[in-house]
């Protein structure tokens, strides 16, 4: 299946022309495809002074002070997701489409984190989802998810290396 990045996704991923861009990569590498973002984080080569990579693991809420301290003009969350597409599909997700936005002591949903950044800084946030095949414990990543992750790595490295 195609993992081409649409112009919409490319625009969401592209570093801001003016101001800092923070990429927050979220996921648990112990849980199969949920480790896609961590896989990406470990392979990014960032040469830009105005772009920052944060491998947030499965505790993105613990990165909020770091994110805010960078005063980003744009914060891009990249996470594995299940939006009913074929494994490896990449989609720009609307925060209100992310199902789990109910807070608990056990989980701090990304839309809530995005809202906090927007309230605090008044800056933009975006969320890129990679369709999972499975997020079961102890599994490796599905080949289609790996290909999608590699496509995102290639795209981001081209922008982060060249400072385009």
């Amino acid at each position: 299946m195609s993992t081409e990045l649409t112009p919409e996704i490319q625009a969401a991923l592209a570093p801001e022309i003016s101001g800092n861009t923070v990429y927050v990569l979220v996921g648990n590498p112990w849980r199969g495809d949920d480790g896609a973002a961590t896989f990406i984080a470990g392979r990014l080569r960032n040469a830009r002074a105005d772009a920052f990579i944060i491998d947030a693991g499965n505790r993105p809420e613990n990165c909020i002070e770091r994110i805010i301290s960078l005063n980003p003009a744009k914060t891009v969350f990249i996470d594995a997701a299940d939006f009913g597409a074929q494994a490896g599909a990449v989609r720009l997700l609307a925060m209100h489409d992310v199902a789990r936005d109910s807070i608990s002591t056990h989980a701090f949903p990304l839309p809530v984190l995005a809202r906090l950044i927007e309230e605090e800084l008044g800056s933009a946030t975006a969320m890129i989802g990679i369709q999972i095949h499975s997020a079961c414990l102890g599994q490796g990543m599905h080949a289609a998810v790996v290909r999608a992750a590699e496509r995102l790595i290639d795209y981001l490295n081209a922008r982060l290396d060249a400072g385009l």
Partner: protein, 441 residues
């Protein structure tokens, strides 16, 4: 003045897991008042069967994403009890530190993220971000520090690696202790602000005479890690007799078992601990209690959140003292133990039956393992705090509803939701969460 109401809260937000509140009152008479627990059982006890007792803590810590350390600690305590291992004083202190940080982490999240939206009158957590984003950031800062201390101590933010039966696989070096000290010092101003926030909050007035159950012991410290089982109704019981306390039973509307001891139900958690052990609090926590007007015995379940503020101060104070003490006297690195699955016979193994009893953030937690001569678990039982509280929550609801029947449906619903939230239930761990159904007849 409805007097006749049928309440069905199908989705109670800001608790962990899934459950429903069902209330049916007609002509001022309460016909039905249920807290339905609709989560599927998780079968952790079944998963433990046949596994080595040396890996039990890694499995059971997955019962909960917020009480992972408490499950680990109670698991290794039960394992050591079964194997006949006595932990060293240093190990006990490090375990106390770990538990302090987890209780602090969990309480802060409940106070700020789950209870505060109701108490500040903003209705939802999303609204709280809009009106109090600095406050939310404070909560997350505090949470991160707790997680960071756990990371230093046991190798991960959650689901500890280094804490095992027999001790720790990794012991903090002096630089680790210094890092923890810096982190804990950094918490103090946010803790002060937390107490200041609590001073501004007002809680619903409601009391019901309740039996409270928590760990008690004869030591000088506020008991969280070990002790006997105490009850506000007496008597004190050895932890091995936990089944005589929990007396679990099933009801058709709940996938979590219910519990009862000397009365029709009992409560565990911050309120229970404070009602039984208030005198053992550190001075800073006692001063906080005084400032907040908390004077045990307290029988208002809504004040469990106040109890959590007091315990947060206690845990920070206690944790800081432990770290300072280790910095002063050092850590004996020779106590480091590497056991794995005990393939090399590092620890002696015997057939046994061990019980662990630890105060998790939401209340007393029991694990019981029966092992064969090779250290394989043949039988396991885990009794979770929320499962012990569900029956009591239902009894509270049944006592509260007749008192507030004159109020509007929205007010009744909110009062019930706040009541359940006050217990900080972890329904997903007890079996999982909450829906309330309310319809006027």
């Amino acid at each position: 003045m409805p007097e006749t109401v049928k309440i069905n809260v199908e989705y109670l937000t800001r608790v962990e897991g899934h459950g429903n509140i069902v209330v049916d009152a007609q002509n001022g008479k309460l016909l039905q008042c249920l807290l339905e627990i609709v989560e599927a059982p998780r079968f952790f006890e079944g998963m433990l069967r046949g596994r080595s007792i040396f890996e039990a803590q890694h499995i059971t810590s997955r019962i909960c994403g917020i009480c992972a350390c408490a499950h680990t600690l109670v698991s290794v305590q039960a394992a050591e009890d079964a194997l006949g291992i006595t932990p060293t004083p240093q190990t006990i202190k490090l375990r106390e530190l770990l538990l302090d940080m987890e209780i602090l982490d969990s309480h802060i999240l409940h106070i700020y993220l789950l209870a505060a939206p109701d108490l500040l009158g903003v209705g939802s957590f999303k609204s709280l971000i809009g009106t109090h984003h600095k406050t939310v950031r404070r909560a997350l800062r505090m949470k991160k520090i707790c997680n960071d201390v756990c990371d230093i101590l046991v190798g991960r933010h959650v689901h500890p690696i280094a804490c095992i039966a027999g001790g720790f696989t990794k012991l903090p070096a002096e630089k680790d202790l210094a890092a923890m000290q810096t982190l804990l010092k950094g918490l103090q101003s946010d803790m002060d602000a937390t107490v200041d926030l609590a001073l501004t909050l007002s809680f619903p007035e409601f009391e019901r005479a309740t039996e409270y159950v928590a760990l008690v012991n004869d030591g000088p410290d506020y008991p969280l890690l070990s002790g006997d089982i105490g009850s506000s109704d007496g008597p004190r019981m050895d932890k091995h007799d936990y089944r005589r306390v929990t007396n679990e039973f099933t009801v058709p509307h709940s996938s979590a078992k219910f519990a009862r001891f000397n009365r029709e139900s009992y409560a565990v958690g911050a309120l229970a601990r404070l009602n039984l052990n208030f005198d053992k609090l550190k001075p800073a926590a006692k001063m906080t209690a005084t400032a907040l007007g908390f004077k045990p015995p307290v029988h208002n379940p809504y004040l469990n959140t106040v109890g959590q503020v007091i315990e947060s101060v206690q845990c920070l104070d206690h944790a800081t003292r432990i770290v300072e003490d280790f910095l002063e006297h050092g850590i004996d690195q020779a106590e480091r133990v590497l056991v794995g699955l005990n393939e090399k016979g590092t620890l002696p193994v015997r057939a046994g039956n061990g019980v662990g009893a630890v105060e998790a953030p939401r209340g007393i937690l029991f694990h019981n393992y029966e092992t064969d001569a090779h250290g394989a678990i043949v039988k396991a039982n885990c009794v979770i705090p929320t499962a012990q509280n569900v029956n009591n929550i239902e009894q509270d609801m049944a006592a509260l509803v007749p008192v507030i029947l004159h109020k509007s449906e929205a007010e009744i619903t909110l009062a019930l939701e706040m009541l359940v939230r006050a217990y900080d239930p972890c329904i997903s761990c007890s079996a999982h969460f909450l829906k309330v159904y309310l319809q006027n007849q």
